[in-house]
Symmetry: C2
Subunit: 112 residues, 2 copies
DNA sequence: CAAATATACATAATTTTCTTATACATAGAA
DNA sequence: TTCTATGTATAAGAAAATTATGTATATTTG
């Protein structure tokens, strides 16, 4: 907590992208994967993650499948068909955002 | 309206960066400059812009100077000393964000 | 000349998306 | 046995937008 350098709105994109790469994942696994990929720089908090997963599911972008491992619950999420499409859209939007920020922050680069 | 592709939290950085490049600007001018630099892709709405300017001013990052042009008001904003420092911080954070997103979205690239 | 558009500021209600704190429960390590 | 890890969840509140108005002057266009 407290070290968040993420702009708001990017969490959905991260979740979707991870599910595109990893087929199915559960919540806790996502938090660990993000920590690993960013070498600890970024920590996804549960308070942000679970509501986001629930929303993506409610919006029909994710399917959920409950598994019991030992005596504990896991909820595996995977992309639906429309989730796969939306992932592509979100990634495009992110590229667009990066380009836009580049134009604003370093206009010289876009002249050539 | 409606075409916003900005992640929340990036508007402050944009404003600060523009003021770093242009010394002093007024609100409407900022909206036009952003439109120009992004070739119309990005439109800063007043409902976001003016509260953001007021907050930056309240936080001591901007100074304001009211000018009368014809019969109309203009409020010119410029960076204070601490605003200049904060601009550097915000730009660093943005670079950090870009790197983090790169690690998450295209992990292959960060291997080399 | 009238009407539409551009210039210029502002705020209020609402929504989205976080942070922070709390809660519950099992499993493993110290 | 206590601390940490694993695993999910929600509630209160804050931050930062969107959307919709409101007010006023200046300019362009039909």
């Amino acid at each position: 907590m407290g070290n968040q350098k993420l702009y708001k709105g990017s969490l959905q994109t991260i979740i979707l992208k991870l599910l595109e790469s990893n087929d199915k994942m559960y919540g806790y696994e996502i938090t660990q994967k993000v920590k690993e990929l960013t070498k600890g720089e970024l920590k996804i908090t549960e308070g942000a993650l679970y509501p986001a997963l629930h929303k993506l599911e409610a919006d029909g972008l994710l399917d959920v499948e409950v598994a019991k491992v030992g005596n504990r619950l896991r909820k595996y999420y995977k992309l639906t068909e429309s989730g796969t499409k939306e992932t592509a859209n979100k990634l495009d939007e992110m590229q667009e955002f990066l380009r836009t920020m580049q134009q604003l922050v370093n206009p010289k680069l876009s002249l050539e």
